[in-house]
């Protein structure tokens, strides 16, 4: 068997889902018996059959990838429950196997996949989508690029009619139907104190997280960002969210402000003060990048 053919044969077996008892399936990929499939290319030894040797890799694959998703989506897990989350992750990995050299990217399609497969979250679909979005935004905010921040001098000669501003790659804007930032913080608090010796307090914390996971809808506008390399969640007003969203889509500052306040209930006389406050916050937090200067073309 040539190298590529052997690697495809082995990968099909390694990536095939485990049985309910978390062992290698008796059925081979494409039909037939897995024992015969394994013995075609794996040697047995005096202690293990070909099937058992291949099974070590099959189990390692699934345990490693499931563990990576559990680590990245603790909030989604608390919403769905352990058993449903585990089953959902298995289905997700079958549909969206890793195509990146790093496991960091394994969950990148979770929100869109979950949206296309509503049976996994059922009645909690909207909540599940929100928490999945937040957890992926959290990963991106943690290690996305940080560019030089915009400063006052950059704006000195700027014209609002033409000025376009670029958000830092690590800043993520989320409009959410549920206050899932509270949920994720509660889940993390529980995880942090997982080693508590008092069984009663552990039970109480889990009860608290379960209660938070049954959140009532409450629309929020959230910015996931980082300061000094720590990720933070900041709730903002709808108008501020609208300005940021419009700017992130490449609109000029004038158009972004116009669209943000068009449907706002904020009295017009308060708009200027609000915008000034937004800019103060954005400058303090360094959310915008310094514009890239294009070199003048010499004749």
């Amino acid at each position: 068997m040539k190298l590529l053919a052997l690697q495809r044969t082995m990968a099909r077996a390694v990536m095939q889902p485990l049985s309910r008892s978390e062992h290698m399936q008796e059925k081979a990929p494409g039909g037939g018996k897995m024992r015969a499939y394994a013995s075609r290319f794996i040697k047995p030894n005096d202690r293990l059959t070909s099937f058992e040797r291949l099974e070590i890799y099959n189990r390692q694959y699934w345990f490693r990838l499931l563990s990576a998703l559990a680590e990245d989506f603790p909030g989604l897990r608390s919403v769905l429950g352990d058993k449903q989350f585990d089953a959902m992750c298995k289905a997700y990995i079958v549909d969206c196997p890793s195509t990146s050299f790093t496991l960091r990217n394994l969950g990148s399609k979770m929100e869109s996949w979950l949206r296309a497969h509503p049976k996994w979250a059922g009645k909690k679909q909207s909540l599940a989508l929100d928490i999945a979005r937040l957890e992926w935004a959290d990963i991106e905010a943690f290690d996305n690029q940080s560019k030089p921040a915009l400063c006052a001098e950059d704006l000195a000669t700027a014209d609002a009619e033409t000025l376009k501003l670029e958000l830092q790659p690590y800043v993520r804007l989320l409009d959410l139907a549920y206050p899932v930032d509270d949920l994720l913080l509660a889940v993390r608090k529980e995880d942090d104190t997982d080693f508590a010796s008092n069984a009663f307090s552990e039970k109480r914390k889990k009860k608290h997280v379960r209660a938070v996971a049954k959140l009532d809808p409450q629309p929020i506008y959230l910015v996931v960002h980082r300061i000094d390399n720590s990720v933070y969640f900041r709730r903002i007003a709808p108008e501020e969210f609208a300005v940021l969203t419009a700017l992130s889509k490449g609109k000029t500052l004038a158009k972004a402000l116009d669209s943000a306040f068009r449907k706002s209930k904020m009295p017009p006389e308060e708009h200027a003060a609000a915008v000034q406050k937004y800019f103060q916050t954005w400058a303090t937090l360094g959310w915008f990048c310094r514009p890239q200067r294009t070199k003048a073309v010499s004749a």
Binding site: L3, V14, I42, T99, F101, D143, Y170, R226
Partner: protein, 283 residues
């Protein structure tokens, strides 16, 4: 052979793997440690805390890069995005050499994130060596390939694992990261004498050595990096040092990680073997 072209003519001592649980201790106490090995993929990102930590570590310590997903033995071409990011990191760390495993783990663009064993065939050796050369030429620094622990063997194999390793490194003209724990684990899983392996390795190509602990199950041994190094592995290490001389040595401890001091103390046990090799050379 402490310094050779495969480790950039460096003479590093005993290091440990840089792990997140030790960050605070290292940055606040600045303990003495010859060098740290980083998992390249953990730092092949665009920004944030991991790179900040790395920069702080680089101000104080020597760092060597070790990868887990280049998959020299995969039949497909190297991933260009992976190579570009790896090179950016090489520029940042100024690592004298990079290492990754003599294994495969991806096919048709899908990654298993595991170190899958190679079929020991001449075809595989040729493909693997070509890929090692491509990576080295792109990165413009020495590359060392590491032998992996394995739990399966293939019918198609035409040679032993150590013959395959030799075939690849000769064809690629690259270095070896010799993992003596992996030799021990595979020897138990496949019933061969680990000394045959150690004695056959081209000593002049060994750029670095790995030591680690493992877990023993009823029918096989798993390379878990969650225990101290056992005596039979230290004996293999001793024999390796006798053959290759004072060589950069690193202890891997990736699960159930104890305190920095415990990990470092375990690594420093290598000192007595390294010291005896220096004495032997002097005599």
């Amino acid at each position: 052979m402490p310094a050779n072209k495969f480790n950039g003519f460096t003479d590093y001592g005993i290091g440990i793997g840089l792990r997140a649980t030790h960050y605070d201790h290292i940055l606040s106490r600045k303990p003495v440690c010859d060098w740290f090995e980083i998992i390249s993929e953990n730092f092949m990102i665009d920004g944030g805390r991991p790179l900040q930590i790395l920069d702080e570590i680089l101000e104080q310590y020597k760092v060597v890069q070790h990868g887990v997903s280049m998959y020299f033995g995969s039949a497909e071409k190297p991933n260009r995005e992976h190579l570009r990011r790896l090179k950016d990191l090489v520029k940042r760390t100024k690592t004298p050499w990079v290492s990754d495993h003599l294994c495969w783990g991806s096919v048709d663009g899908r990654y298993t994130h595991d170190l899958l064993p190679m079929p020991y065939t001449f075809e595989a050796a040729k493909i693997t060596a070509q890929k090692v050369r491509e990576v080295r030429d792109f990165l413009e620094i020495p590359v060392a390939v590491e032998n992996v622990s394995s739990y399966a063997e293939y019918h198609v194999s035409e040679m032993t694992e150590w013959e395959f390793l030799n075939e690849v490194v000769e064809r690629a003209d690259c270095g070896i990261l010799l993992d003596v724990n992996n030799i021990y684990v595979s020897s138990q899983n496949h019933s061969f004498n680990p000394l045959d392996y150690v004695n056959s390795v081209p000593a002049e190509r060994v750029a670095q050595i790995h030591i680690a602990g493992h877990s023993k199950y009823r029918k096989y041994i798993l390379d878990t990096h969650d225990h101290p190094v056992i005596d039979p592995v230290w004996r293999l290490y001793d024999r390796t040092i006798q053959r290759v001389g004072h060589t950069a040595t690193l202890l891997e401890w990736d699960d159930s990680i104890p305190t920095f001091k415990e990990v470092h103390d375990e690594a420093l046990k290598a000192d007595k073997f390294l010291a005896s090799s220096v004495l032997a050379t002097a005599v």
